[in-house]
Amino acid sequence: MEIVIVGNGPAGVAAAEAIRKSGLECSVTVVSKESEPFYSPCPLAEYVEGSVSRDSLFMRDGDFYRRSRIDLLAGCAAVSLDPSSRRIGVSRSGRIEHLSYDRLLVASGAATAFPPVSGLSGAPGVFTLKTLADADAILENVGGTERAVVIGSGFIGLEAVQALVRRGLKVTVVEAMGQVLPQMLDADFAARVQARLETFEVEVLLDSPVRRVTQGPNGVASVVAGDREIACQMVVCATGVRPDLSWLAGSGVAVDRGVIVNDRMETNLPNVYAAGDVIQAPDWAGRLDLLPNWPNAVASGRVAGASMAGESRKFTGLLPVNAVRIFGQPVSSFGVRGGEQVVAAGEGGAARKLFLEGGQIVGGQFLGDVSGSGVFLEMMRKRVDASFLDGTALSGRWSVAAMLREPPRVRSLAG
């Protein structure tokens, strides 16, 4: 049996490892557009900043692929899928080849979603921060650069901001919406994050959709956003990611915003599975959603690997979580923002907020002190009654102890 995995990110590798763990005898081929072995994109900002070495980005030792009997076809992009012949087309050094599969995993991740603005995508001096190659390109160009504009204030945008500030650049971040981290936080917490950015001398422009990027004799010259034109020598575009479905066009695989899968990571096509950032899958509550993050990539990859190896393992649902550091201050959030709020303030500007509907947690956000936040996520997933939570109960240390319930209390010596 031949298993082909498109994508050498966490989803693809987790799947490959799950297949090997199952003991199924088969060949496993991992196809990757990029030329590096499996690395993590998450510390890329730290890599640009200089606090994380290039070596430690790589997630497995040098012997990993050989030991795990995985054929890695690096620098090889999938370009088409033909389910009827069970083959994919791949482009290798400009030549198109075909690979047959008995089972195929689509784990090709997501790509930066550029806003439809002229002079942005692919223009000189305009970078993204998605892959190791992107990070290397920024590093090559950052020397001698004084001013940069980061487009988008999502978590990748803000990580890029910090990396560049720590590299000594003066940075402006432009955001089309009325707040920073619009996917993660409500306006209240976003304002505090913004204030923190500003204390580190980051200029934050809200309600400022990018309209134009202008080029000068030495490359990029300015960004026009909202009613401002900001002169700069470097632009980092971090306007979010979107599943890259282009190579699947015409294959008949069902897609919406991502590849649609069930709780075993099966697509509508026989023997074709998908996992990671590319999927649209049931979330923790069973709703189809797009939730690109590392834990989901690993978890869905493992389920996909197990399914392909013939094991029956069910996905517990995509988790709507995210975490980011703003100049050392942890910020995390999960679920949705809305409904009844429970708020608590902690030491040194720390704050937590939970969102409840009908006595159940539907979301939460944490600033400065994220300890214990996983318990609230678990309470949400388990639909634990949380109506007992008030500001006092929410503050302070949190652990699973808060969820323990016990026998009724006797309250007197007489019993």
Partner: protein, 638 residues
């Protein structure tokens, strides 16, 4: 977290503190949670340096300390040290008052004898001749009698105990070996006996606890109160206000906090005289308010307004409106200095024994009382000068309160109904069941219970069952703030019987309305007044105190002093409810002794109830059984 009913003023103060980012005891309690089970069970021993030793309450681990001490003795020994801490506090307080009185008589301290009536009644108690003698000379004899107690090395019983305590009970205490001579010797012996390698018999140790409690009761409470009445006068009924709303934004607010009126009396005196200085600084006047028990002392004798009980002491500072908080001794949270620092508040310690980092220390000596008090008032005026014009957050809450119900004041009211036999109307009402019984609801205010309004809820239940409540200490503040110290409360909360009695008494006394259903008898040290009242009623009826339909309660125990006071009630035969549980549950023997077997010894037991309703029910039931034993109807009103 659903059934909380934080008293309104408390929640207003808490939200002020929260708004200003000031952490409160509640925050610290939360951080402290969970608290150690060994400590709560009483089975942690740090008496020697082979330890600390802890007994496994599940019985699998260590069953004794390293030295071999049993958990029972460990618990009893710890309890003895708590009781000794409480007794030492009250004896120290009493001795300070005694020495001030001596110095005043010698012309060395600027205090007058305002309680002539008390001097005469004490002279009668102590067989001191008064005929044709100067008041000061009589007084000097009393001082000598008291001083003798602190110097004797014989086994003669203590003067104050033997002359002041009721006779029948003394007989019992003699039998039990509880009579003491020099209180200081006993405090020494208790510390000695409870140190490593001495008394290891739980029963013997618990008898020491009772003895130490008697010391608290008679050489602590009674001596202090008697002599305070001599120096500052016997309290008379007056009407005042309670709760944080008594602070005045435009006045120099001086909050006196602690227990010993020797200082606060002088502060009040000079504050009255120094209004002009305050006006020169732009204030309307000087507003002296009372916190904790020194507040109760001033309120009892001068109708001073009561701003806060102990656990609110940090909260009223958060208003920003307290210009000076002047403290003497006991129950002073070191945290106060930290909260004061956030404002212009001068936090002033005065006793050499009470030194707190970040406080202003103005040593107060009774000999220099006037100068010291003036200096303190000036410090407050200066603080007002710094604060003037800044916004403050004073909650609106305040309630009226009738205060000053000393035994003398009560008898005075009752004598308006029956001149010859003042206690008769009360005794008749007890017999008829209109007054079902008495409770002394006393003690501290605890953040562990405040959010459930433990004291208030319990008292509501008692009043509905026609149980008359007397109160002292921070409990009195709580009940004052909740409006229980008013005639209106009689209509609102009392059962029909009690309501009728209080209304009749109030009208006979010419108050134009009912007496309050809860009688404010003073500071925590004034628990001796409750004892005197009980003794008087028992005497009039010709029964022992333990036979009375009476019970005590410390529903929000905090201080060691409450343990020793409670012990003195137990020794007298008055059963007590307390919450939280004392640290005895690690010892089956001590638990059994205090909750059951003690009734065979003194007639009293201890009951722990954490819920107000349960506590009230137990007390009512206990009163019912005492009534039944006296042949009185024992069905409470419902």
């Amino acid at each position: 977290m659903t059934s909380v009913q934080i008293p309104a003023v408390e929640s207003a103060l808490l939200s002020i503190a929260k708004k200003k980012g000031i952490k409160t005891g509640r925050d610290r309690l939360k951080e402290m949670s969970p608290q150690c089970g060994f400590g709560e069970l009483g089975t942690c021993c740090r008496t020697c340096y082979m330890g600390p030793c802890r007994i496994d309450p599940f019985g699998d681990g260590p069953k004794t300390g390293i030295c071999g001490i049993s958990p029972d003795a460990m618990v009893a020994r710890n309890m003895l040290r708590e009781t000794t801490g409480g007794a030492a506090s009250h004896v120290g307080h009493a001795r300070h008052v005694l020495l001030t009185l001596r110095d005043a008589l010698d012309g060395k301290a600027p205090y007058e004898i305002k309680g002539a009536q008390k001097v005469l009644s004490l002279a009668k108690t102590f067989d001191v001749p008064t005929e044709g003698r100067d008041l000061a000379d009589v007084c000097r004899d009393l001082v000598d009698i008291a001083l003798e107690d602190f110097g004797r090395q014989d086994e003669m019983p203590n003067n104050w105990l033997s002359a002041r305590a009721p006779g029948q009970e003394q007989e019992l205490w003699k039998e039990l070996g509880l009579m003491y001579s020099n209180p200081h010797n006993e405090i020494e012996t208790a510390m000695h006996a409870s140190s490593m390698g001495n008394d290891a018999d739980p029963t013997s140790l618990m008898m020491r606890v009772l003895k130490m409690s008697l010391i608290d009761g008679w050489t602590g409470l009674a001596l202090a109160v008697d002599l305070q009445d001599v120096l500052f006068g016997v309290p008379e009924v007056s009407v005042t206000e309670t709760a944080a709303g008594v602070l005045e934004a435009k006045s120099v607010n001086i909050a006196t906090h602690g227990h010993n009126p020797v200082l606060s009396e002088k502060i009040l005196y000079w504050a009255d005289k120094m209004d002009e200085e305050a006006q020169a600084a732009g204030a309307e006047r000087i507003n002296v308010v009372g916190v904790c028990c020194t507040g109760n002392e001033l309120s009892m004798r001068h109708g001073v307004k009561l701003a806060a009980h102990n656990s609110q002491s940090e909260l009223i500072l958060a208003t920003g409106a307290v210009d000076a908080m002047v403290v003497d001794i006991q129950c002073i949270w070191p945290q106060l200095a930290q909260v004061a620092k956030c404002f212009d508040t001068a936090f002033i310690t005065t006793d050499p024994m009470v030194r707190i980092p970040d406080a202003i220390h103005i040593p107060f000596e009774p000999q220099r009382a006037d100068e010291d008090a003036k200096e303190i008032v000036r410090e407050a005026i200066a603080a007002f000068g710094r604060r003037k014009g800044k916004p403050v957050d004073i909650p609106d809450h305040k309630s009226k309160a009738v205060v000053g119900l000393s035994v003398e004041a009560i008898l005075d009211i009752l004598s308006k109904v029956n001149q010859e036999d003042p206690l008769k109307p009360v005794i008749d009402s007890v017999a008829s069941g209109d007054i079902f019984g008495f409770t002394g609801v006393v003690g501290c205010s605890s953040i562990r219970f405040r959010d459930g309004a433990m004291t208030e809820e319990m008292v509501k239940n008692l009043l509905a069952a026609n149980v008359l409540v007397v109160t002292t200490g921070c409990t009195a503040h709580i009940l004052g703030q909740a409006g229980f110290l008013t005639g209106e409360a009689t209509d609102k909360y009392c059962g029909e019987g009690l309501k009728g009695v209080l209304t009749a008494l109030g009208e006979a006394a010419g108050l134009g309305g009912p007496l309050p259903p809860v009688w404010h008898m003073g500071a925590c040290v004034d628990n001796s007044r409750i004892v005197d009242l009980l003794a008087a009623v028992a005497d009039r009826l010709g029964v022992k105190v333990t036979q009375l339909p009476a019970v005590g309660s410390a529903p929000e125990l905090v201080q060691e002093k409450a343990i020793s006071i409670g012990g003195s009630f137990l020794a007298l035969g008055v059963s007590c409810h307390i919450a939280p549980a004392p640290r005895i549950l690690g010892s089956p023997v001590v638990t059994q002794l205090l909750t059951q077997d003690l009734s065979q010894v003194t007639g009293a037991t201890v009951q722990v109830e954490m819920e107000p309703k349960g506590a009230a029910d137990w007390m009512i039931g206990h009163i019912a059984s005492k009534r039944a034993a006296l042949g009185l109807s024992s069905t409470p009103a419902v």
